[in-house]
């Protein structure tokens, strides 16, 4: 028995650990460090219809137990991802979750339609929550109706299950979650980054060229856990949880809060081997907790 296996719409996960979108590129760099087949899945960098250069630099800044980023969805564009990135990843025995971004519905639809036909893309992750682009992205993620309609439009064309990535920068994330579920989303991924800012001490000016950036890392974990806890109680579709996961204990927390799998973002920068390390440690943790299969942990925070 594989104590770590998880079955989610479209995804047969050997284990519930996957790198989060934007923190792992298209896998090549980490693939030089370890065998990517060890991973439960890979969430690749956001793909847009056209090549995007992204924002000016500096694009990152450190904060207390966290970091800000404003990459601005830099990526080589749909065609190049289809021709160069995804085929390269086929050598590994690992399902790919393609992060789809755009500025208007038509972009999302077109990217989703094409990218969902790639043989190793087993699910889409609709990025309606990127705080670092001027239009599109987060605007879809803060209004339930817009989130609903975009999800429905993408569902119509996607060949694979669709997960929607939620933004934490909202008054009530449950509303957005229910809206995308109603629109047919197969799952939810959460949370994207909180919007934040850091200033230069000398000049007082923002360090990030884009002025604001997305806050990630251990600092945001309490917010992410709270939101997963809440959302998992109002939807029936599964959640892939993320936000500050940096060690095995954090994975246990996200599962307990109600996530069925967990993505690791910023921690890859701190320790590039963190994903395989966590995967190796998980069975030890299960023994400590007296749990046979990892699925027993899912949502235990709700049960009294």
């Amino acid at each position: 028995m594989n104590r770590l296996s998880m079955e989610l719409p479209g995804l047969q996960l050997k284990n519930p650990i996957m790198p989060a979108s934007g923190c792992f590129g298209f896998g090549k760099e980490y693939g030089a460090l370890y065998d990517l087949s060890k991973l439960g899945a890979i969430m690749i960098k956001a793909t847009t219809l056209e090549t995007r250069f992204g924002n000016p630099t500096p694009r990152v800044a450190e904060t207390a137990s966290g970091m800000l980023n404003a990459i601005g969805l830099q990526n080589p564009g749909l065609q190049s991802v289809m021709e160069n990135e995804l085929p390269w990843l086929e050598q590994f025995d690992v399902p790919i979750i393609a992060n789809v971004a755009g500025t208007e519905t038509a972009d999302y639809v077109e990217v989703a339609k094409t990218i969902s036909t790639a043989p190793n893309v087993k699910a889409l992750e609709l990025n309606i929550s990127c705080p670092n682009v001027k239009c599109g992205g987060i605007t879809f993620g803060t209004d339930p109706q817009q989130a609903h309609d975009l999800t429905a439009a993408v569902k119509e064309v996607s060949e694979v299950p669709v997960y929607v990535k939620l933004s934490p920068n909202v008054t009530d994330i449950k509303e957005i979650a229910k809206a995308v579920e109603a629109a047919g989303a197969d799952g939810i991924t959460m949370i994207n980054t909180l919007v934040g800012m850091r200033l230069d001490q000398k000049t007082g000016r923002p360090i990030i060229a884009n002025i604001t950036g997305g806050l990630s890392g251990p600092a945001v974990k309490p917010v992410a856990i709270k939101m997963v806890y809440e959302v998992s109680q109002v939807v029936t579709i599964p959640i892939i949880g993320m936000g500050g996961v940096s060690e095995t204990a954090d994975v246990i927390d996200f599962l307990s809060a109600g996530a069925s799998a967990v993505a690791v973002g910023t921690a890859n920068f701190v320790d590039p081997f963190i994903c395989p390390k966590i995967i190796e440690e998980l069975p030890v943790k299960l023994d400590e907790l007296g749990v046979d299969h990892i699925s027993e942990l899912v949502g235990r925070s709700h049960r009294l």
Binding site: G25, Y30, T57, I71, Q74, F269
Partner: protein, 258 residues
Amino acid sequence: MIIQDRMKVSGQREIAKNIFEMKLTGKLVGEISSPGQFVHIRVSDSFEPLLRRPISIASIDNERNEMTIIYRAEGRGTTLLSLKREGEVVDVLGPLGNGFPVDETSAGETAILVGGGIGVPPLYELSKQLTAKGVKCIHILGFQTESLSFYEEEFSVLGDTYIATVDGTKGTAGFVTDVMAEIGDGFATYYSCGPIPMLNAVQTAYAEKKGFLSFEQRMGCGIGACFACVCKTTEKNEKPYVKVCSDGPVFPAGVVSI
């Protein structure tokens, strides 16, 4: 190959005001392939500070499995690094990036190495390797002031060494470009590392020459995955951008748009 190594601090001393020379021992040293590569250092086991710090490799001693880094203790991370004592262990990721091409200067030719401030360190290993293969090295090192200058002796052993300080407390008063003007252009190649305005002045002054510049950018991953460290390129480059961490930090002059 890039490895994660828990390296032992085998030396730590302050060589100028707030400038530290640290020696680190471990198998990572065996992986270093060119001068100008850098390492990404985790300064604490805590999550605060969170990110690694990129620091250039200043010299390598393959026999002792030891490398030297030279850094300015300025912010939180580098200050914590400066508090590490001999015998402590530091989590180092590297070697990273592509360094200075030693092959681009042939034995018997002259190379000019221009460094500014904390950009000076990687030039030291470069000079060692160039002189070892018979290249004549001329060093031009710029510092703010004498108390922040370092490694004059080390460089002097390898070749002619000119110092410029902004306040004139040591060597020529002024910038590296002032020294460059005196030296003329009887050389084959130049290599440079330092602040952007300096790199710009150097590549403008030596517009006709073959040169290589090392760049800095704020980094996330340090290995090419996060797109934090990109720079726009000039039309000289096929791709519209490069990543400092994995395509660089060293680029041929004229490639990076500055």
